[in-house]
């Protein structure tokens, strides 16, 4: 039983990690358009945070939309 709990916890941690990899990949492509130094400027930083939030909004909206179709 403890092992099952441990595996489930690891699984959900891993899903969060993989989502972060995917969001970073998508949002980096859209928000970081030039490489002119090692730091993010304020616009890029804001765009990255917005991008994650808008992506999650879209995901939630889609799930609700699909549920209401059933």
């Amino acid at each position: 039983k403890e092992l099952t709990t441990f595996i489930e916890a690891e699984n959900s941690k891993q899903k969060v990690q993989m989502s972060i990899h995917n969001f970073t990949n998508t949002c980096f492509k859209q928000c970081v358009t030039s490489i002119n130094g090692p730091d993010l400027d304020n616009n890029e930083e804001q765009c990255l945070a917005n991008c994650v939030n808008r992506f999650l909004d879209t995901n939630i909206r889609i799930v609700k939309g699909l549920q209401s179709m059933q």
Partner: protein, 70 residues
């Protein structure tokens, strides 16, 4: 139980692809504001596209199977 796992895999794939495509079509960098109206319409169009594609593909499989191609 196998059928159920496959149904979940299919639903997950549908949610992921719809989210990606509708995020791409409805939202743009720097992502200051959302666009729920567009997301709703995009989801409706995506589901209709899924049906059209599905019909065309299955017609093609049946045709190939009738003509002895496969």
């Amino acid at each position: 139980q196998i059928s159920q796992e496959l149904a979940i895999a299919n639903a997950t794939e549908l949610v992921n692809k719809t989210t990606e495509n509708c995020f791409e079509k409805c939202l743009t960098s720097p992502y200051n504001s959302g666009n729920e109206n567009c997301v709703d319409q995009c989801l409706a169009k995506y589901m209709k596209s899924w049906n059209t594609v599905s019909k065309a593909y299955i017609a093609r499989i049946q045709q190939a199977s009738t003509s002895g191609e496969i």
